[in-house]
């Protein structure tokens, strides 16, 4: 295999210069002539009937150009999931009921903010409040207020069930009976939010020719186009979602948002562009939070630590509509069974409606919560049985070529090496358990912990496949047309590197046109962890076609056969005679002159699991899920201040099998960002809610990590795949897989440091102090009432 020049290199990102000089255009930066300002009227009630909406006074406000309510819409609902089993359940504007504080009830377009705000104040909505429920366990009770009827397929005596996932293999009861040790634990992962720096923003402009032009902060323009077109009652071809950079998303910008629909509808009504920008408070209150999970897990093992049986019951609280709840309870199963062999498994997950704002995937989408539970319990099992926590993991770790119970092959799997490397580089076995043994009255106590996780790299969900076009320009440079959207992960750079490698062309000679539903081909989007694998292979195939065409022309021009030709440095020459060559420019010219004007364009398409019609069943987990899986082991070293209960992450080590990194610089950036997100999850981030209202809708009170909490983050590559020019490659994913094991590692490290086992996130100072017995009983009467 010849040396790679572009793939596998630490190439600075292509969109870097724009971003570092302020030239990068985000949706909010788009300004059009005659643009109106849009604002949304939101429900103040967590649950209420809408008796009447009167917009007449609001319409009188000077500058107000249009006001819409549900009555003005085609009445077509949408949802994160839209399948026969889980049909769309979210209205674009509330029809006759509101089900959460902040739900969208009306939208105004006006010439300026003040007019729009004045109009919002004058819209009169008559509500009849209904009883509400916020806790999922309470919402399941048969006499709970009904937010939606139970899912028709769920027969149990529960209420408010949005969906259920149930699966099993082997015989767990027999497995437990045969186990030497069985334990059962309950873990709870709390409500967090994405915290992307760019607030949601949309500009919609309905043109005279019937085309709706949209710029919106998203995670993929094609799914937005599809949902916008459907809910607005427009043909797909009438909606164009244009390229705009996105200021972070992490799962919170995937599905359709009411304000996007409203911007479109208002523009159609006024024939003027409409811009709607969410305030940061709206983002914190009424947009999507992450999915909280309650995880009950019972595990049986042999005395040497071999897993025998595992039983899971998972409760998810997706909010007032299904959101991605029915997906997270499916994925939770996946993340439970991926890293280790579990001969007997039973899994049951419920998504339960509550009167809370709708929740969405948040980076990892179930993996952090599940790995926290499984890895904490595994450490407890190891301790009980006197086993080495590293050995226990190695004993159960998946190996290359293993078949998963759903039929997927894990292909190359470097998990064991990840575990060994992470342990070796941190001196894990020497350190773990030592600090606890030493009786200590020291204020600061350190501990080390490990976690293991796995993530899938691409699955099937609309639009299911990616296509890329590579076209040569007269001068031998190339334009890459891709529907891939760069949300920070470096999609444009990675695809450019692949094309550069296939065509032996410097990156500066590759122009990227991206993420425009009109001019670029379809792309799966930046939310299914398949960018490098699916879009990347599509780019490779497109470049391959260009290369083939260039070689054909070269064969004629150089009167040589393909086997004697070398492609290098923007030209093709005969082996051994570098002077006998043609540059790409010459080849393009020759092609146009001699080949019916073929200017040399290549197209490439890729779909994961080409023989599978669709994604696995969310309800039963049956079906193929993915054809590549990433694995990792992470180690955390923490320091606990036993006086204040505060914890610092001193060091994070990530040993990862991402296949092979196309751009190690970008991969490292992803890992660092995920370690940061995990430490936020672990220590300081919490959406505080009371009766459906967010108490801390700003960054002062929602403590997202800042530079003070920076933890050194080390990366160890465990390479299990490779890249060869002209051949399909399997690489895995790096954008979501590294928030999970590190969270578990932190939990285990805290136990190692101070002997306090925490079963719920976040690991607050209060919980630590209570665990240490250092906190007096909470005195509720401290505040005079």
């Amino acid at each position: 295999m010849s040396e790679l020049e572009y793939v596998g290199r630490r190439v600075p990102r292509k969109d870097g210069p724009e971003k570092v000089t302020g030239g990068a255009i985000f949706s909010v930066d788009v300004r059009l002539q005659g643009m109106l300002v849009g604002k949304i009227l939101r429900s103040p009630h967590p649950h209420a009937r809408i008796l009447n909406i009167d917009t007449s006074r609001a319409l009188q406000v000077p500058g107000v150009k249009a006001i819409v309510t549900a009555a003005d819409t085609p009445g077509i609902p949408h949802g994160f999931v839209e399948t026969p089993r889980y049909p769309a359940d979210q209205p674009t504007l509330a029809v006759d009921r509101v089900r959460y504080v902040g739900e969208e009830v009306a939208a105004v377009a006006a010439t300026d903010h003040y007019a729009a705000e004045e109009a919002l104040d004058l819209i009169r909505v008559d509500y009849e409040p209904l009883p509400s429920v916020f806790d999922p366990l309470k919402a399941m009770e048969v006499d709970a207020p009904e937010i939606h009827p139970n899912h028709p397929k769920v027969k149990e005596p529960y209420r408010n069930i949005a969906g259920k996932t149930e699966t099993a293999w082997g015989d767990v009861e027999r497995g437990f009976a045969e186990s030497d040790y069985v334990r059962q634990d309950r873990f709870e992962s709390h409500l967090r939010t994405h915290g992307y720096l760019e607030p949601q923003a949309t500009v919609a402009s309905f043109e005279a020719n019937g085309k709706l032009n949209v710029w919106t902060s998203s995670q993929g323009p094609f799914i937005k186009r599809a949902k916008l077109a459907r809910t607005l009652g427009l043909p797909l071809s009438s909606v164009r979602v244009q390229k705009a950079y996105v200021g972070g998303a992490f799962g919170g910008k995937i599905d359709l948002f009411s304000h996007e629909f409203c911007a479109g509808l208002l523009s159609m009504k006024t024939s003027r562009p409409v811009k709607i920008v969410a305030t940061r408070q709206e983002v914190f209150c009424a947009y999507r939070h992450g999915q909280p999970l309650i995880v009950e897990v019972k595990t049986g093992v042999k005395k040497d630590g071999t897993l025998v049986a595992q039983e899971y019951r998972v409760i998810n609280n997706p909010g007032a509509y299904r959101g991605s709840g029915v997906v997270v309870i499916f994925l939770a199963w996946g993340f439970a069974m991926l890293p280790y062999r579990i001969p007997n498994l039973k899994y049951e997950g419920y998504a339960v409606y509550t009167n809370n704002p709708v929740r969405a995937p948040q980076r990892g989408h179930g993996a952090p919560q599940m790995r926290f539970a499984a890895e904490s319990q595994l450490d407890m099992i190891a301790e009980e049985l006197g086993l080495d926590p590293v050995e226990v993991r190695l004993k159960n770790a998946r190996q290359s070529g293993e078949l998963l119970p759903n039929g997927d092959n894990v292909h190359n799997c470097g998990l064991s090496d990840c575990i060994k490397e992470a342990a070796k580089s941190t001196g894990f076995s020497e350190k773990c358990g030592q600090r606890r043994k030493a009786a200590s009255s020291e204020r600061y106590r350190r501990g080390i912990g490990m976690g293991v996780s796995s993530y899938f790299g691409g699955s099937l969900i609309y639009p299911n496949s990616s296509s890329v076009i590579v076209k040569m320009n007269d001068d031998g440079s190339v334009t890459l047309l891709t529907g891939a959207l760069d949300i920070g992960q470096g999609a444009e750079t990675v695809l450019s590197q692949i094309v550069a490698e296939e065509l032996k062309l410097p990156l500066e000679e590759i122009q990227v046109i991206a993420a425009d539903t009109e001019t670029t081909p379809v792309d799966i989007g930046a939310w299914i962890s398949g960018g490098a694998y699916v879009s990347g292979n599509a780019a490779r195939v497109a470049a391959e076609e260009v290369r083939r065409k260039l070689l054909e022309i070269a064969e004629e021009e150089l009167e040589a056969s393909k086997e004697d030709l070398v492609v290098d440095d923007k030209s093709i020459y005969v082996t051994g005679s570098p002077d006998h060559h043609r540059t790409y420019r010459q080849l393009v010219e020759a092609s146009i002159r001699k080949h019916r004007g073929d200017s040399i364009i290549g197209e490439g398409h890729w779909r994961t699991m080409r023989d599978e019609p669709m994604h696995p069943s969310l309800a039963t987990t049956k079906g193929r899920w993915s054809e590549n899986y990433a694995f990792d082991a992470q180690v955390a070293e923490v320091e606990v201040d036993t006086h204040t209960g505060m914890i610092r992450l001193l060091r994070a080590v990530t040993a990862h099998d991402c296949g092979f990194p196309i751009n190690p610089l970008l991969v490292e950036g992803q890992i660092d960002g995920q370690v940061s997100m995990a430490l936020g999850h672990a220590f300081m981030e919490q959406v505080l809610m009371k009766e459906g209202r967010t108490l801390n809708p700003n960054w002062l009170d929602y403590h997202m990590p800042n530079i003070h909490t920076l933890a050194p983050s080390e990366h160890i590559d465990v390479i299990t795949e490779s890249y060869e020019v002209g051949r399909p490659y399997r690489t895995k994913e790096v954008g979501e897989g590294y928030v999970s094991a590190i969270l578990a590692a932190i939990a285990n490290a805290i136990y190692d440091a101070v002997g306090v086992r925490l079963f719920s996130t976040p690991f607050t100072p209060e919980k630590v102090l209570k665990g240490l017995g250092a906190l007096a009983r909470s005195d509720e009467n401290d505040t005079d009432v």
């Binding site: 006086h643 007096a776 009432v785």
Partner: protein, 330 residues
């Protein structure tokens, strides 16, 4: 987010500012750095008819006056307080406290006077109420409290950082109005009323903060416990100033807690414990326990009372220990 409309006044001197606030009284608000006022205005908690922006008024550098006291103009930015050699020398706890405020940007914009006059804070208060909490709470001139649902009073907490330090330094504030100048101990700047924490009338403005010369060597420390270690308001903060005579006994001890009430609170029993004694590690720990027992922290921002009391003990011990170390060095 947009500011509401208002009329802007831009006085070029403190006298001109006083004229404006005298004329417009309660329909005017003073904007020094703007980092508190403008945020509240964006939340529509404050919507004054007039904003008197003090940004055109130059502030003199901190200096030592003829009595040997340290004089810091209220319009001195926090950044300048931190960088001032004079402050570092004469009142290091003030510089230390100013350095913990928010962020570099806010310290560049924000002023000492503004930090002293921060509005009290509460999770429910510091947000827009367009669809959450439509009925106004007490602090918004309404009739209820969301923090204590059946409560009869406001529980918002004063979270400024420089105030505890200045209380510990026995500072004075000079207040200007059309009636002339008055001087008062800084503790009298505060009302202990969450609704209206600062005792100034709308027609008054702080001109200068004066820290009297102590004449003795001091050890000073400001310790702030916060979720991230920067950018944050405090969970609990503590300012400690220890003064010792030549024989090593403590001639004065000031221990002032911040962020746990509507104004900074002196831990007077802890102070009394230290007064006149030879300072030791054990005594400091006892003082910290005393402070924790005598203070009744107001639960704020999701923290429980028992956790806050624990923080009071730990932070007080940390502050006193640090002050003690620095006393010895000096």
């Amino acid at each position: 987010m947009h500011l509401p409309r208002f009329k802007l006044l831009q006085p070029r001197s403190l006298n001109e500012a006083v004229e404006f606030i005298d004329r417009y009284g309660a329909s005017a608000r003073l904007g020094a750095g703007g980092t508190d006022l403008f945020v509240r205005m964006k939340y529509r908690v404050a919507s004054p008819e007039y904003v008197v922006s003090l940004k055109q008024i130059p502030a003199k550098a901190p200096s030592i006056d003829e009595n040997g006291a340290l004089s810091v103009e209220a319009l001195t930015t926090l950044r300048d307080v931190v960088r001032s050699d004079v402050v570092a020398n004469r009142a290091p706890v003030l510089a230390e406290a100013a350095h913990t405020v928010a962020s570099a940007q806010i310290r560049t914009m924000g002023t000492l006077g503004g930090n002293l006059c921060l509005e009290t804070r509460c999770l429910y208060y510091n947000q827009s109420h367009t669809f959450q909490y439509v009925e106004p709470c007490f602090k918004r001139d309404g009739d209820r409290c969301y923090f204590v649902p059946k409560g009869k009073r406001c529980w918002a907490v004063f979270m400024g950082d420089t105030a505890p330090a200045l209380v510990a330094l026995d500072a004075l504030v000079e207040v200007e109005s059309s009636a002339g100048r008055r001087t008062m101990p800084i503790e009298r700047l505060y009302t202990h009323d969450s609704l209206c924490p600062v005792s100034l009338s709308p027609a008054e403005i702080i001109s200068t903060v004066v820290i009297p010369a102590s004449g003795r060597r001091t050890g000073e420390a400001f310790v702030k416990s916060s979720p991230r270690g920067g950018l944050d308001f405090a969970i609990v903060s503590a300012a400690a100033v220890l003064e010792a005579g030549d024989d090593g006994t403590c001639s004065r001890a000031a221990v002032v807690l911040g962020s746990i009430a509507a104004m900074p609170v002196r831990a007077s029993q802890a102070e009394a414990l230290l007064q006149g004694k030879v300072l030791t590690r054990d005594l400091i720990q006892e003082a910290a326990r005393t402070a924790s027992a005598e203070i009744r922290p107001v639960m704020h921002h999701g923290h429980s009372a028992s956790y806050l009391r624990r923080c009071v003990e730990v932070i007080t011990e940390d502050a006193l220990s640090l002050a003690f170390e620095r006393l010895v060095i000096r």
